[in-house]
């Protein structure tokens, strides 16, 4: 479902003397349907960068980034938008809150975008918010005023509302209490069981071991620095 071939990534800082910062090279990885691969490696090794390369908000310098049959590294904006609507979900570390949109609608939005009827979408959103222990009195409010943990749970609910065939999860269990962490892990296992291909970053080892089938140490892709 997800396959990277010889991908490399560097950043060129034009306004800092055009410094070129190589971040990773020769990335090869494959994730099949129903499989969850955990990315590991020290802070700064490039775990989040790798996810953004797959999601398409970072541009690969070279190589192929296949999700389904689309090469994200070469795709047109509208193809990536369609991919994100229908195929590829992403739970980032922070919720990007849109002012004045109710939490329930934030969660229902990915379902509405694929044409799910309003009432079905809202029912699903409500059940996810309930499962993640967001008090019902908050559902009609914009998450702008929510606590960090509440925002994160809204973000997770949104990521699991629609059954994406592929999912990217950047530290979905960070800063959650035991009960909510268990819920998130259950959601991940459910997604695997229905055949989703998942790439996850988990700092919590127990969580990692529970849901991941294999691991990739991103440090292995660090460019060899000439001494």
């Amino acid at each position: 479902m997800i396959e990277l071939e010889n991908v490399s990534k560097s950043f060129t800082l034009h306004n800092q003397g055009s410094a070129v910062i190589p971040v990773m090279e020769r990335v090869n990885l494959q994730v099949s349907a129903g499989e969850c691969v955990g990315l590991v490696g020290a802070s700064g090794a490039g775990k989040s960068t790798l996810m953004r390369l797959i999601y398409g908000n970072y541009l690969a310098a070279s190589g192929r980034v296949m999700v389904g049959d689309l090469d994200v590294a070469q795709a047109e904006p509208r193809q990536i938008i369609a991919l994100r609507r229908e195929t590829l979900g992403y739970v980032s570390q922070f919720l990007r809150v849109v002012p004045r949109v109710a939490a329930l609608d934030v969660v229902a939005e990915p379902l509405l975008a694929v044409g799910t009827p309003q009432n079905k979408a809202r029912d699903k959103a409500a059940s996810l918010l309930a499962e993640l222990n967001i008090p019902e009195r908050l559902w009609s409010l914009s998450p702008t005023t929510f606590s960090g943990g509440e925002q994160q749970r809204v973000n997770i609910a949104r990521g699991f509302a629609y059954d994406y065939p592929a999912l990217l999860l950047d530290e979905p269990t960070a800063s959650l209490d035991a009960k909510n962490r268990a819920t998130v892990l259950r959601l991940i296992e459910g997604a695997k069981a229905r055949g989703a291909a998942i790439i996850g970053i988990f700092h919590d080892e127990a969580a990692r071991d529970q849901v991941c089938d294999s691991f990739i140490d991103v440090s292995a892709f660090s460019p060899k620095v000439a001494a």
């Binding site: 800082l13 306004n15 398409g56 908000n57 541009l59 904006p77 193809q79 990536i80 938008i81 975008a113």
Partner: protein
């Protein structure tokens, strides 16, 4: 965005080819080309004087460019170069399938006509005749842009800046256009009013499956509204792509400067 559109075999709604506008020896915009597909929202950003309004006005037929094509996929005849249309044809397009939201609401409204009249006028221009129906639709649109229908007989001069801008949007969208041009639609409004207007635009664009081209210098606005982004400098397009890619991983020196010189958006 929200529109359910099929990927394959889709004709661009708008094809802009090598569009150039000079002001004497000075470049307004130079050699701009892109395709816009149905349902897409494109942002155009760049510093003051970079040619954003010049480009938008050239596309919308407000002034004649020196070179290039603006091909629109018309309902009846398919793709047609609008620059080669007759003046009446182009004016008709401007009242039906196209809409233009000006930065200053007073440029897009008739200030001497009531709010209801401003909306109704556009309906009448496309053949609306039944007074009662026009008034009902006008009231409905006032509601959609969150203006109380008790204000239907007031003139826009009695409205706040934010209300005037919402009225201008209602007037433009009432005829169900397929393509909307917007020049700094939230400029000159204070921040909380802007947020409300943006949210409104965002839901209208989604519900109606509109295509839109939005000129702004505010990166938060494009982050919220635009699927894709074009960055202009000195009349040239220096970078374009998926909005979050251009903002999160800008490739061009100028875009990097633009992104780093504002607060995190």
């Amino acid at each position: 965005m929200g529109a359910q559109v099929k990927e394959q075999d889709m004709t661009p709604l708008l094809q802009v080819n090598a569009l150039t506008k000079m002001y004497g020896p000075r470049i307004g915009c130079k050699d701009v080309s892109f395709d816009l597909y149905p349902g897409e929202v494109m942002g155009i950003v760049g510093e003051s004087g970079s040619g954003k309004s010049t480009l938008l006005n050239a596309m919308a037929g407000h002034h004649a460019p020196d070179q290039g094509e603006v091909v629109f996929d018309t309902r009846v005849d398919g793709p047609v170069d609008t620059l080669k249309m007759s003046e009446p044809e182009r004016r008709m397009l401007g009242r039906t399938d196209w809409a233009f939201v000006h930065q200053h609401a007073r440029d897009g409204l008739r200030m001497s006509v009531s709010a209801g009249g401003n909306i109704g006028e556009r309906l009448m221009a496309v053949g609306g005749r039944h007074y009662g129906e026009i008034r009902t639709q006008a009231a409905d649109w006032l509601g959609r842009v969150e203006i109380s229908d008790s204000r239907i007989d007031d003139r826009p001069s009695a409205f706040s800046g934010g209300m005037q801008q919402r009225l201008q949007i209602a007037r433009n969208l009432v005829t169900g256009p397929r393509l909307v041009f917007m020049d700094e639609p939230t400029g000159g409004l204070d921040v909380s009013v802007q947020a409300r207007l943006l949210d409104l635009l965002r839901s209208l664009v989604r519900e109606m499956g509109l295509s839109a081209i939005i000129v702004t210098h505010d990166l938060a606005v494009v982050r919220l509204l635009a699927d894709r982004l074009m960055v202009m400098k000195d009349g040239h397009v220096v970078e374009s792509g998926l909005t979050d890619q251009v903002l999160d991983d800008p490739q061009h020196a100028y875009t990097q400067l633009l992104v780093s010189s504002v607060l995190q958006v």
